[in-house]
Amino acid sequence: MDAQTRPLIVSYAPHIRTENSIEKIMYTVVIALIPSIITSVYYFGFRALSVVIVAVLTCMASEFIVNKIRKKELTCFNGSAVVTGILLALNVPSGLPLLMVVLGSVVAIIITKELFGGLGFNIFNPALVGRVFLLISFPVAMTAWPVPHAVDVITAASPLGILKTEGVAAIADITFWKLFFGEIGGSMGETSALAILIGAALLAIRGYIFLKIPLIFIGTTFAFTGIFYLIDPTQYASPIFHLMSGGLMLGAFFMATDMVTSPMMVRGQIIFAFCCGLLTGIIRLFGGYPEGVSFAILIMNAFVPLLDRWDLYSMTKRREAVK
C-alpha cells in the first residue's frame, strides 16, 4: 500500500529506546529472591510461604488503594510492591502472626513510600521501615525465631541473640557451614547466605546492582569486627561469624543496593557503604540490639540526599575549575 492516510506521530529524539524497563528490573529482583524463599520454606516449612504471600498481597493492595485515592495510573503492578513484600517477609520470623505481617506491609507501602510521593520519591527503604516498625511495636513476636526443621513451633534465640546475651562461648558449636547454608534460627531470608549470594550474582550479571556498595559494606563490617576479635577473641565473635549471621548479607545485597534510597554517584556510594558497615559493627558489638543492619541502613538512607548534594556540588566546582 502506498498512500499514507493516518497522521504521523511526532516525538522528540531519540526515537528508539532500550528494552529495559522498571517492570523488568523489579521482576528480575523477584527472581533473584526466589532462592531465599525456597531455603526459608525448606528450613521453616510452608508457614514461611504464607508469610511471603500475605506480605506481597497486602503490599500490592495498599499501593492499589493509594493509587485509586490519588486518581493516578496504577503502579501496583510494576513490581516494586512485590519486591517490598518479599523483602519484608524475608526479614521477619516465619512464625509471625499474619496480622502483624499485614500491618508491617501497610506501614512499608503507605507510610514509607506512598506518602512521600510513590516510587522514586521515598527516602527510606520501605521494607526496612516496616521491619523496624514491627520490631519496636512487637518485640517479643519479632524475636521468636523458629528453630529450623522443627516439627512443632519451637523458638529459640538467633545466633546473634545468643551472642549478645550469653557471649562468645555459647556460639562455639555453630559451624561455618551451618551459617552458610542457613541451618540456624533467624528471620526467613537472612539464614542462608548461599541463597542470597546466588540471587545477588544474578542481579550483578544483569547490571542492576553495583557491587561496590555490598562489598564495601560487608568489608567494613568484617574489618571492624575483625579488629575487635583480634583484640579479644573471648569477648568478640569472629568476623566470619558476623559475616554469615544476621541480616548482613541480605541487607548488604538487597537493601543497601535499593536504587531509590542509595546515592547516585561513586563517592557518595562509598561513604554510604562504609558508614553502613561501621554502624552495623558498632550496634552489634556495643549497642543494645543484637542486630544492627536495619538501623544502620535506615540511618544512612537519611544521609543520602545530603551525599548526593555534596557530590553534585563538588562535580560542578571541578568542572568550573577546569575551564
Binding site: P7, L8, I9, V10, S11, Y12
Partner: protein, 270 residues
C-alpha cells in the same frame, strides 16, 4: 520512691520554665514591628501572590504601598470597591487599574482547525514548539498544551477541544499567562459590557487561511465595510477591531462569513 517522682518532676518543670522564658525573651528581642496599616491592607488583598502588580507577593505590595503611598501602585485582582477601601484605610486616592480580561485570539478547536500530526512528548507549548511546528497547521494557532494554564494562579483557564478557554468569572487580568504563550495568542483587553473581537491573528492570504481553518479571518474586508463607526481595519489579511472606537452595534459579526468575530459579555462589577 518519692525521690523517683520528685526528681524527674522538678527537673522537667525547671527545664520547661527555662525554655519557656527563653522563648518569650527571644520573641521580644527579635520582634518585627508590623505596621498595623500593612496588616489591614493585606487583609483586603486576594492573597494569590501572582506578582502582576510588579511586587513580590501580596505582603510586599502592602509594605511598598504603605511606605511609598504611590497612587499608581495597583492590584489587578481588586475590584473598584476593593481599591476604594484600601484607599480609605490609607487616606488617599488610588488610581487602581482599569478592569481588563484575558482573551484567546483563536477559535481553532480540533473540529475546525486542520491538525498536523499527533504529538507524544512533554505536554507544554514551548516543548512542542521545539519538537516541531505545532499541532495545528496554522502558524498562529493556539497549541492547546497549556503553558499558560500552569502560570495562572486564579484558576481561570482550561483546555477544551484542543484550545485554551478563559473562565471569565475567575480572570482578573493579571497578565501572567501572556508571557507564557510561545505564539502570542493571548491578549489583555479592557472589559466592556458587549465586547466584539476578531478571534484570529492569521496574516496569511484568505485562500491559505481557509485551507487550514474554517473559522479563521480571511481578510475579506466585509466587516470593515459593514462597520458604521469605522472601527475595523484589515491589515495583511487580518481584521482588528479598535475597542476604543467600537460602539458594540454588532454589524460586523453578522457580516463575517467565517464567524471569526466573537462577542464577549464582560461583567464589569466583577
Amino acid at each position: 520512691m518519692l525521690n523517683s517522682i520528685f526528681i524527674p518532676v522538678i527537673t522537667l518543670t525547671v527545664t520547661a520554665l527555662v525554655l519557656g522564658i527563653s522563648i518569650v525573651l527571644v520573641s521580644k528581642k527579635f520582634h518585627v514591628d508590623e505596621d498595623p496599616l500593612v496588616e489591614a491592607v493585606v487583609k483586603l488583598l486576594p492573597g494569590a501572590n501572582c506578582g502582576a502588580c510588579g511586587q513580590a507577593g501580596c505582603s510586599q505590595f502592602a509594605v511598598t504601598l504603605v511606605a511609598t503611598r504611590d497612587p499608581n501602585l495597583a492590584c489587578p485582582a481588586l475590584s473598584a470597591d476593593g481599591t476604594e477601601q484600601i484607599g480609605a484605610i490609607l487616606g488617599m486616592e488610588l488610581s487602581g487599574m482599569k478592569p481588563v480580561i484575558c482573551t484567546v485570539k483563536c477559535q481553532g478547536t480540533t473540529a475546525v482547525a486542520k491538525q498536523t500530526a499527533e504529538y507524544h512528548g512533554i505536554m507544554d507549548c514551548w516543548a512542542a514548539k521545539q519538537a516541531f511546528h505545532g499541532t495545528k497547521v496554522c502558524p498562529y494557532a493556539c497549541l492547546g498544551l497549556g503553558s499558560c494554564l500552569s502560570a495562572c494562579t486564579y484558576d481561570a483557564m482550561r483546555i477544551v477541544d484542543g484550545i485554551v478557554e478563559i473562565i471569565e468569572e475567575n480572570c482578573v487580568g493579571c497578565g501572567l499567562c501572556i508571557k507564557e504563550c510561545p505564539v502570542n495568542v493571548l491578549e489583555l483587553q479592557e472589559k466592556k459590557p458587549n465586547r466584539y473581537l476578531v478571534a484570529c491573528r492569521s496574516t496569511d492570504k484568505g485562500a491559505a487561511t481557509k485551507k487550514y481553518c474554517e473559522v479563521g479571518c480571511i481578510g475579506c474586508k466585509k466587516c470593515e465595510k459593514a462597520c458604521p463607526a469605522e472601527a475595523i481595519t484589515v491589515d495583511n489579511f487580518c481584521a482588528v477591531i479598535d475597542q476604543s472606537i467600537c460602539t458594540s452595534c454588532g454589524a460586523c459579526i453578522e457580516a463575517c462569513p467565517t464567524h471569526a468575530i466573537v462577542l464577549k459579555e464582560d461583567n464589569i462589577r466583577y
